[in-house]
């Protein structure tokens, strides 16, 4: 399996503040990575840095043969990044449909296919972004990242606020997409068990540094390790 | 509950409301000015009425979040009421002042009903529209207001029966400064009170304000009425110290200028209006003395630089070079 994403010696933060410290890891094509860590350890900051929305101080990021860190934020989407920000950030003055078409790029994922995956969104096509329920906004954020037709999906707590049945379906869908379409994904979640089940690899952050990097299966099968790293036995 | 900690909470709550050491100093300096530089008394007087007017706008704009581009409606109304009172009823400045404040507050009460709903832009335009209509009225009701000529040559009785307004402007500037101080103290009490806190809550988040039981409309009406009254006081001071009222007191330029002053000085901070008025007036009069034709250019440049560099950083030049990248 060829390597898709390679992060080396990455330090980044906001303004003068450095949140991430010398982070390095790699991810193969079609693989899913679970990004774990306690609150405020820098998970979102890492995702945002990959998307180009923070200030990078040092280090490199390469996506395939592209030196991602050299690109401005808006060119990273073209290079293959699809981003679901933690706070959803639905474009509030656009309709559901416009939210999708505004960022869509040609490829397998079209708005129509998104509506297939989330029928609920199809029914709300002409609603403004702000008129959606919390969960619907979450679905839209996901769909919006997909229609960019990325090679790497960045999902920041994508399950928050979704009904259990949707959660299970979404997890299945993510597993399917990555498997069938060779898409890679990085998923941040509060509930490690849920995503470790569908992930290939796991990275745990603490205080902005990588404290554990291994296969997901290994971490999942070791409750003591989970407890030590994340402070949750579940 | 830890009984030992509660005084701390109370302490830090009250701290914001406490007078800082520089405040009395500032006021002493302000009150000394007409004596120190008597030659500048006219502009001190004018600036003080502007500052009072700006204080009024800051109450609604800075503390209740209501944008108003027609605030001159209240200033002007107060000015005309004071003028008509002096012309037809009595030259007594004190009663005139009170009547003007009361009348303007009533006007504010009615006008407040128009600013309860809508976006910033809506309020901007509705208030602007009201002021424009008032201006037209002042023009049309010539028999009452003197039309464009205004009401001229008023005689105002001495303040406290002793101090006659003279053309040197000394008495006038003390009159206006005193009003400014009184209303400033009142405004200060109001914004630091629970009532003031509910206003800020409404400004920050109306939905939440409602959800904790604040009667949003009643509060907005109350503050708008109070602010209108203060603007009326400023207008009355204008008329009484200058001895006339004409349509300029209602003009769009006056509304716009007072807005500029409040924004220059910083909104949501009572000294903002006062400071803004001082800066604006001083800059304007210095510039227009240097270049009567093109002072507008320089004041424009001042505003542009003020915004681009930032109000705080303008006071700290050493941050200019470094900070621009952030």
């Amino acid at each position: 399996m060829s390597e898709l994403l390679k992060v080396e010696g990455l330090s980044a933060g906001y303004g003068e503040a450095v949140v991430l410290n010398d982070v390095s890891f790699a991810l193969g094509e079609g693989q899913t990575l679970a990004l774990l860590g306690r609150n405020g350890t820098g998970k979102t900051t890492l995702i945002n840095t990959l998307a180009g929305a923070t200030r990078r101080h040092a280090g490199t990021i390469s996506l395939g043969s592209v030196a991602l860190h050299k690109l401005p934020s808006h060119e990273r989407a073209a290079a293959g990044i699809g981003w679901v920000p933690q706070e959803r950030n639905i474009f509030k003055s656009l309709t559901v449909h416009e939210n999708l078409t505004a960022v869509a790029r040609p490829g397998r994922w079209t708005p129509a296919r998104v509506y297939e995956m989330f029928p609920r969104l199809g029914e709300r096509k002409t609603n403004l972004g702000t008129q959606l329920s919390g969960g619907e906004q979450q679905m839209l954020a996901m769909g919006r990242a997909l229609v960019v037709n990325p090679r790497l999906l960045l999902l920041d707590e994508p399950l928050e606020g979704l009904a259990p049945i949707i959660v299970s379906e979404l997890l299945k869908a993510i597993a399917r997409i990555t498997r069938e379409e060779g898409l890679s994904a990085i998923i941040v979640e509060q509930h490690p068990q849920a995503i470790l089940a569908i992930s290939d690899r796991a990275v745990v952050l603490d205080h902005g540094s990588v404290v554990h990097a291994d296969t997901a299966a290994a971490l999942r099968s070791s409750p003591e390790l989970l407890d030590r790293l994340l402070g949750v036995a579940r | 509950m830890n009984a030992g900690t509660s005084p701390i909470a109370r302490e830090s709550l009250l701290r914001t409301a406490r007078m800082k050491w520089w405040e009395p100093v500032l006021w002493i300096v302000l009150f000394a000015l007409p004596k120190l530089i008597p030659s500048q008394a006219p502009i001190i007087n004018e600036t003080a009425t502007w500052a009072l007017f700006a204080l009024s706008l800051d109450l609604v704009l800075g503390f209740a979040g209501i944008v108003s581009l027609g605030h001159a409606a209240f200033f002007g109304f107060g000015a005309y009421v004071a003028a008509l009172f002096a012309q037809h009823v009595s030259p007594d400045p004190h009663v005139g002042l009170l009547v003007a404040i009361a009348a303007t507050a009533v006007l504010g009460l009615f006008a407040s009903l128009t600013v309860l709903r809508g976006s910033d832009l809506t309020r901007l335009m509705v208030t602007l529209g009201l002021a424009l209509i008032m201006t037209e009225l002042a023009n049309k009701l010539e028999w009452l207001t003197g039309g464009t000529d205004g009401i001229q040559g008023l005689t105002i009785a001495p303040v406290l029966g002793r101090f006659q307004f003279g053309f040197d402007g000394i008495v006038a500037s003390y009159y206006s400064l005193t009003l400014l101080l009184l209303f400033f103290l009142l405004a200060r009490v109001v914004v630091n009170s629970p009532f003031g806190a509910t206003l800020k809550a409404i400004r920050d988040n109306r939905l939440r304000a409602m959800a904790i039981g604040i009667p949003v409309n009643a509060r907005l009406i109350a503050i708008y009425t109070l602010a209108a009254g203060i603007a009326g006081a400023a207008g009355a001071a204008f008329t009484q110290t200058l001895g006339y009222a004409s349509m300029e007191v209602l003009s769009f330029d006056r509304s716009a200028d007072v807005m500029l002053m409040v924004v220059i000085g910083g909104i949501g901070w009572l000294y903002g209006g006062v400071l803004g008025a001082i800066i604006f007036k001083v800059v304007q009069s210095v510039l227009s003395n240097i270049t009567p034709q093109y002072w507008m250019f320089w004041i424009g440049l001042f505003l542009v630089v003020l915004v681009l560099v930032g109000r705080e950083r303008l006071l700290k030049p050493w941050t200019w070079v470094k900070g621009t990248k952030a």
Partner: protein, 366 residues
């Protein structure tokens, strides 16, 4: 210090009245350049201030000029409310105030220290009301800007015109801030009077005249008459052919045919390239003349009262013709000319074709 004579000139140098300020200032400066700055042993110093047509500014500037700069004379005044706001200061400080632009009749009554070197609107409109009935104009609609001077013009024109047997069929007032004259002109067109009498502050006049032409009112047989403000010399040339044939009455035309005016215009245009002197410039020029005369007559001694007394009855030849200051009213008495816009050497001029001599301000002969 004692040998300095200070003139505090307050004018609108910015804002919509800025052109007034420029013309008056240029007029004053031209007089001073031509006549030197030493009069009766005094060095004349000019202090120019901008009030942006805000009376509160005018008043404060006057206060400062009197209190701090100890000016001997206040002058300028672009608009009536400014002049009225300054009047009490003139009275209290006994400083003469020479009004060089503002034109409402009542100004000189506001203080015994006010003297006017410009004109009054009643002066100009009454002359027109005398001329019109004699020239085939029997019915008129008046259209004036809705503010003091406009209402003055309407009132005095109407009174005199009806006294002379004419009929004013409608009186329209246009808001000062009015971007489009279409509805008013259409109304006039539908009423078909013999002539439309217009007063607008200079500036708006051009737009009105163009719309007048565009609407084909002249072809419908309606004549355009008005006070000279609408064919302001300052702008006349750019108005184009629509202005041709418009009859106005005023106290000054750049085209006035006198040796003195020829000299004045030449000197003015030399000092201010690209600018034609208009009636405002003459107001400034003659105002300065008046002040110089007063200094001379009072020998440079005596205060404000002496100066005002010296101005009263002052009589001299101005570029507009002979003028004098009525000793009782301190207002100007002058010839009012009837003029028609004509093209000469490819340029438009207000060509005078009749004159009514020594017109006093009718506003004061109640």
């Amino acid at each position: 210090q004692d040998n300095v004579f200070k003139i505090g000139l307050i004018l609108p140098m910015t804002g919509q009245q800025a052109t007034t300020g420029r013309q008056v200032e240029a007029g004053v400066k031209l007089w001073m350049a031509q006549n030197g700055d030493t009069v009766a042993g005094k060095k004349v110093q000019l202090i120019v201030k901008d009030d942006a047509s805000v009376p509160a500014n005018t008043r404060r500037l006057a206060q400062e000029l009197v209190v701090n700069d100890h000016v001997n004379v206040l002058a300028g005044m672009g608009i009536t409310p400014s002049a009225l706001a300054v009047a009490p200061i003139a009275t209290q400080s006994k400083t003469p105030l020479v009004v060089m632009a503002a034109a409402t009749s009542s100004i000189t009554e506001a203080s015994p220290f006010i003297v006017r070197s410009s004109f009054t609107l009643p002066q100009a409109s009454v002359a027109l009301a005398d001329w019109a009935p004699k020239n085939g104009i029997k019915t008129v609609v008046t259209l004036v800007s809705d503010y003091g001077p406009g209402i003055d013009a309407e009132k005095f024109f109407k009174e005199r015109f009806q006294f002379n047997g004419g009929k004013v069929t409608d009186s329209l007032r246009v808001p000062l801030m009015n971007p489009d004259f279409a509805p008013f002109l259409q109304k006039v067109r539908d009423e078909k009077p013999d002539a439309l009498f217009v007063f607008t502050p200079s500036g708006a006049g051009a737009a009105l005249m163009k719309q007048f032409g565009e609407r084909g009112m002249d072809k419908a047989g309606i004549r355009l008459i008005g006070t000279g403000d609408i064919t302001d010399d300052d702008q006349l040339n750019q108005m184009g052919d629509v202005a041709l044939g418009v009859v106005t009455s005023h106290h000054y035309s750049t085209d006035h045919n006198s040796p003195m005016n020829k000299k004045f215009v030449a000197a003015f245009e030399k000092a201010n390239p690209g600018l034609r002197p208009n009636f405002m410039a003459v107001g400034g020029y003659d105002g300065a003349h008046l002040i110089y005369d007063a200094i001379k007559k009072s020998g440079g001694k005596g205060g404000g009262e002496a100066l005002v007394n010296a101005m009263k009855g002052d009589l001299f030849e101005s570029p507009r013709g002979p003028i004098y200051i009525d000793a009782q009213t301190r207002d100007i008495v002058q010839n009012i000319y009837l003029r028609k816009v004509e093209k000469k050497n490819g340029q438009l001029w207000n060509v005078e074709f009749d004159v009514i001599k020594d017109v006093k301000d009718p506003g004061k002969t109640k």
